[in-house]
Amino acid sequence: MDKRIDSPAEAVRRISDGATVMIGGFGGSGAPIELIHALIDRRPKDLTVINNNAGNGHVGIAAMIEQGIVRKMVCSFPRSADPRVFTELYLAGRIELELVPQGTLAERIRAGGAGIPAFYTPTSVGTELAAGKPVETFDGRTYVRERWLKADYALIKAELGDPMGNLTYRMAARNFNPIMAMAAAHTIAQVSHLVPAGGIDPEQVITPGIFVDSVVEVSDPRQEEVLNRQGAAYPEAVA
């Protein structure tokens, strides 16, 4: 089995207009910047993007929004230090937002990957984010029903990957990446180090290859937080 793809551009080639795309990462950690930028180059339209945030600065998801390829964001925290792009479009009514509590977002994604169409959670009971959702009482406590969340594609970032799609992650860059890998019809992983099958100790595998469809090596990947501190933008401004 060989899931290797030669380049980020080739890996995202099939993502078409209107697709729902999960993108791993929390803030800058674990964001697959090279895959995101390759997707921007393709200029698909009307994407729905699922991530914890709505981008930061002018790279990654913020650049997707800035370049006008995102119709809707599903996230828990669309505000951040430099959120102007999303904020302006949202207040102008030009981008949709589905606001989901962070733990509910994670569990909806996990459920999507695990074949569980709905579940009950105490989170948001009695708040406006539970409006219109069914509630039920279990053992004297009220819970709200939430639906699974799935996607056409997941773009994720991993540390080690092998041709079978087995993955490990680097520190807190793990975050949403393993559960998004499970919840998409087609999962594309950019890995910082591609190793041969057997190069990852089976006991150390975090995401088993069954959840991964494409693996592309991006050695020495860019880190979103570092790019933002450098004031980077994508596509780079032409002087």
Partner: protein, 228 residues
């Protein structure tokens, strides 16, 4: 009264210091972004506490020196952190299983408003703009104790401890203790029960600054906090 209040009330650092005195050895603790994070600075000597952050780290320590940040190692506030021996990484679904599953001993959050029923409003003023909730609605459910650190009144002198919250709720009946700039108040059976107050404020004055009945049941200790 506001001017007088400003002279006697605790600073945010002092409120954090007081909250830190209730940390117990062996506690797994989540401190909300911003003000609650200050509590870790005042963790009493000799007590071992393990900090959880929503983005998938248990057992983190203080911030690294400037220039030594690794931006793949951050907390939920997206600040760089360091690891203590015995730290662990995990994905987001496991992280919130720790939260909702009752595995945390304590979560501490900030507040716009707290009701005597234990309802908390801390995510939205309801005034429009871009709504953002993060993990707040999850954190108020599941931790064995859910505490709030807050000024006792707003900048305009309006009570933040109320019979009912008027701002959008984060959670219903979830707060167990409130550390304010003037007092320590428990939420018990749908009532505010005063546990400690600054010696410099009378019970009557404190009640006048509280938007719900402040019950006294048992001794009320002096709230004495060092300059920090």
């Amino acid at each position: 009264m506001t001017e007088q209040l400003d002279k006697i009330k605790l600073s945010n650092a002092q409120i954090a210091w007081r909250a830190a005195q209730d940390l117990e050895t062996g506690f797994y603790v989540n401190l909300g972004i911003g003000f609650p994070e200050m509590i870790a600075r005042f963790q009493p000597e000799g007590r071992e506490v393990i900090y959880h952050t929503e983005n998938g780290v248990l057992g983190f320590g203080e911030a690294p020196k400037a220039g030594e940040e690794d931006w793949d190692l951050i907390n939920a506030g997206k600040k760089a952190i360091t690891l203590k021996p015995g730290a662990a990484f995990f994905h987001h679904a496991d992280s919130f299983a720790m939260v909702r599953g009752g595995h945390l001993d304590l979560a501490v959050l900030g507040a716009y408003q707290v009701a005597e029923t234990g309802d908390l409003a801390n995510w939205s003023t309801g005034a429009g703009g871009v709504p953002a909730v993060g993990g707040a609605m999850d954190l108020v459910h599941g931790a064995k104790r859910v505490a709030v650190v807050t000024d006792h009144v707003t900048k305009d002198g309006q009570p933040k401890l109320l019979r009912r919250c008027t701002m959008p709720l984060t959670g219903v009946g979830c707060v167990t203790r409130v550390y304010t700039s003037l007092a320590v108040v428990d939420v018990e059976g749908g009532r505010f029960v005063l546990r400690e107050k600054l010696p410099a404020i009378s019970l009557d004055d404190l009640r006048a600054l509280t938007g719900a009945t402040l019950h006294v049941s048992g001794p009320v200790a002096d709230l004495v906090v060092p300059e920090v």
